[in-house]
């Protein structure tokens, strides 16, 4: 009888094997597959089968629970039949598939069968990863010149399992793959070992079998005379227990669904690359912005599909520069796609075109929302108006200093200035030119050629959408416009006109949910995470009949600051895309909707914005933020952090906090999260409930 071997990792197995291989005692190593070589990112494994049933149900229009029942029924019958025929209670996928289809549709459909089989394989593939230590071990065994076979108790037949092993890059290690489903004989009865010994023409004493199951992989192997090794990986067992608890808790709803989902995503990310990348921005993108942007993209896809089902399908998706850049890249990864394009639109070019019929008071005051506004100069910058021509006219209306901030928006001088025919003539002339070029650009991208168009952007006021309607809404071919925003906070405008729908997916201030408003409290970091590396669009030019965007020159002061941050933004986006790739796989496995995940994502963002770590505050405040509303201003994301001494000057502290882009970063130097908690409560008291 072989010795009782319980080893805790692959290195220990190797240490035990090495002298025996060198002594020529071992001719064959047999390896279990599941939970030994391959580990799952989901627990329990039935989640994969449930996911297959959901995919099949969706394809054929049957409730997933019925598809699951039909499968269970077919499986049970096959197991009973196998036992009655004198075999082990094994179920073969090759037999299961026709029986399952028969239970569902009372007929066979070859194409559907192929779909079911491929879905099963691809979902198994998505849930599995090769344990890195196991691969190192197999490489070593191969170097020693010892043959390896795979022996598994599994319902997938050898061909399917081999395909799965091939996808994981493991098939070439094995001389042969023995699967219980092929012979209807399992390891747990010892029959599969006997068959393996017979086929491999070796004696039991020359074989070592390694697996994670103490009964079928060690005890039963030993009973057959094979040296069985129980691979007892405590860490792995603990991980599986934790995941199983997470899955159980997810049935309670609330944040538990999201926690289960993102724990699975994290497991998958770590399994794929156990190294923790040193780059902070990559990690921040992957762990903080990744969940937020991914849930936004899923929400967008769900809304587009819903519209399609209602027969109001969006015909074209326009990802608006510059923050639509990342969203367009993420959208390209989706399986079902609509025609989509990244378009060069900016607040600057849209507002410039919107004054082709004159500048109203409502439009003029938009420029004064900027805390750094410089009166009429800001109005000119926002609407692209010629300052030199308007300056003398402003003087006539009492504006001695053209750059003096205007705090009283009902200033009589301003009203008189806007009523002046000469002012409006200049505005109309310049606005007309801008509108003509913008119109030609929109025609070029097919904006007017579709009945329903969706704009996708980060947020916040929907300025582009509002002004597009204002500038071209009178055209008969103006499409029904849907604006999908990461966060929608319409502080500037309330009325967007008919057939002009706006929705914030992660945050919409009109929903009145205080807990979801977190993106609006540090807008800049989300804009930084999604933005393109290119400069903002400041106009258009005609290049031999083709309209091309004119971008802000690289020599502009704000652009120079932006260029310095581009490398960090690029790392952040790599992290987000890494997260997105795993997010999609886990979404297929769990089937959770964006609505189920949102509460947890709001919690993740609350942690990141209100309770940042020292490292987060240090690194993120190095970024600079620019706004494309005509100015060259640069917004520093962090100012001097407050110390305990500052608490003696509360008025100054309040002033600091009011103007800070990221107020919670100011509390960085005060230990514990208590000041953040207190500050959060105070802030929530001051905002509308």
């Amino acid at each position: 009888m072989p010795e009782k071997l319980i080893l805790r990792d692959w290195q220990k197995i190797r240490t035990w094997l090495e002298p025996r291989i060198q002594a020529g005692e071992i001719r064959l190593i047999s390896l279990d597959i599941f939970d030994t070589l391959l580990a799952r990112c989901v627990e329990p494994p039935e989640i994969v089968q449930h996911a297959v049933c959901r995919a099949v149900g969706k394809k054929v229009g049957i409730a997933p629970s019925l598809v699951w029942q039909a499968r269970q029924q077919a499986e049970q019958t096959l197991r009973v039949e196998a036992v009655a025929a004198g075999f082990d209670h094994e179920c073969r996928y090759i037999d299961l598939l026709p029986r399952w289809m028969e239970n569902l549709f009372q007929e066979q459909d070859q194409a559907l069968g192929h779909f079911m089989c491929q879905t099963e394989l691809s979902l198994e593939d998505a849930s599995l990863h090769v344990k890195p230590d196991a691969r190192v071990f197999m490489d070593w065994v191969r170097e020693q010149g010892v043959k390896m076979v795979a022996v598994s108790d599994m319902y997938l037949n050898r061909d399917l399992l081999s395909e799965l092993l091939g996808r994981k890059g493991l098939l070439h290690y094995f001389e042969h793959v023995y699967v219980s489903a092929d012979y209807q004989e399992g390891k747990y009865s010892g029959r599969l070992y006997r068959r393996m010994l017979q086929r491999q023409l070796v004696t039991a004493g020359q074989v070592v079998h390694i697996g994670d199951n103490p009964v079928s992989d060690r005890r039963m192997a030993c009973k057959e005379g094979i040296q069985g090794v129980w691979l007892y990986e405590k860490k792995e067992l603990r991980r599986r227990e934790r995941l199983a608890l997470s899955a159980r808790m997810s049935q309670r709803g609330s944040i538990w669904v999201g926690r289960h989902f993102f724990e699975t995503v994290q497991t998958r990310i770590h399994q794929d690359d156990s190294l923790n990348p040193r780059n902070f921005f990559f990690r921040y993108g992957r762990d903080v912005l990744g969940p937020a942007f991914s849930v936004f993209m899923q929400g967008l896809q769900e809304r587009l599909q819903r519209q399609q089902q209602q027969g109001q399908s969006v015909e074209k998706l326009l990802f608006v520069a510059r923050d639509g850049f990342l969203f367009e890249r993420m959208y390209r990864d989706l399986e079902e796609q609509l025609p989509a394009e990244y378009v060069y639109l900016s607040r600057k070019v849209i507002t410039a075109a919107s004054v082709a019929d004159g500048l109203s008071h409502e439009q003029a005051v938009v420029a004064f929302y900027n805390p750094k506004q410089q009166g009429l100069e800001s109005v000119c910058k926002v609407y692209g108006l010629p300052e030199a021509e308007l300056q003398p006219l402003a003087k006539d209306h009492g504006f001695a200093d053209f750059t003096a901030p205007i705090h009283n928006w009902q200033d009589t001088r301003l009203h008189n200035f806007l009523r002046d025919h000469k002012v409006q003539a200049i505005v109309r002339r310049v606005g007309g030119k801008h509108r003509d070029l913008l119109q030609r650009y929109l025609q070029q991208i097919g904006f007017f050629a579709h009945k329903r168009v969706a704009l996708v952007d980060i947020g916040w006021n929907g300025t582009v959408q509002k002004f597009l309607k204002q500038a071209f809404g009178k055209r008969a071919d103006f499409p029904v416009l849907h604006g999908y925003y990461f966060a929608f906070v319409p502080k500037l405008y309330a009325d967007f006109g008919d057939n002009n729908v706006c929705e914030g997916i992660v945050h919409d201030s009109r929903r009145g949910n205080a807990c979801e408003r977190i993106p609006a409290e540090f807008e800049e970091i989300f804009e930084q995470g999604a933005r393109s590396y290119e400069a903002t669009t400041i106009g258009y030019r005609d290049c031999e009949g083709r309209i091309e965007p004119v971008l802000k020159p690289d020599s502009a002061p704000d652009r120079l600051a932006e260029l310095r941050c581009n490398a960090s933004v690029a790392r952040m986006q790599e992290g987000i895309l890494c997260h997105w790739q795993h997010y999609q796989a886990v979404q297929r496995l769990t089937g959770y909707s964006s609505q189920q995940l949102l509460p947890y994502v709001h919690g993740v963002l609350e942690r990141a914005v209100v309770y940042p770590t020292r490292e987060e505050t240090r690194e993120l405040t190095r970024l600079v933020h620019t706004e494309d509303f005509g100015h060259d201003h640069v917004l520093e994301l962090g100012k001097r952090a407050l110390g305990l001494g500052d608490l003696l000057r509360p008025r100054k502290v309040l002033q600091h906090m009011r103007v800070a882009a990221w107020r919670y970063a100011l509390l960085d130097k005060i230990p514990t999260g208590l000041p953040n908690f207190a500050c959060r409560m105070m802030y929530l008291h001051t905002v509308e409930k």
């Binding site: 009782k4 103490p214 608890l245 993102f262 709001h602 993740v604 942690r607």
Partner: protein
């Protein structure tokens, strides 16, 4: 990315103490207690260790 549920519970208290709406990302006290109970159970009844002892003590 994976936050301790107790942390979320505390974060949500800030909403409860101010706007009165703290449920959105709060795990809920009952569920949180249930989760803690399961974790303690997992720690006390270490199934992995029990499995190991069983295999270690069993007779071949």
């Amino acid at each position: 990315m994976v936050l301790h549920p107790a942390k979320l519970f505390v974060y949500a208290l800030a909403f409860r103490f101010s706007s009165g709406r703290g449920r959105c990302f709060s795990p809920g006290f009952k569920a949180l207690s249930g989760w803690y109970a399961s974790r303690v159970q997992q720690w006390l009844f270490d199934r992995a260790a029990a499995k190991w002892w069983r295999a270690y003590l069993e007779r071949d």
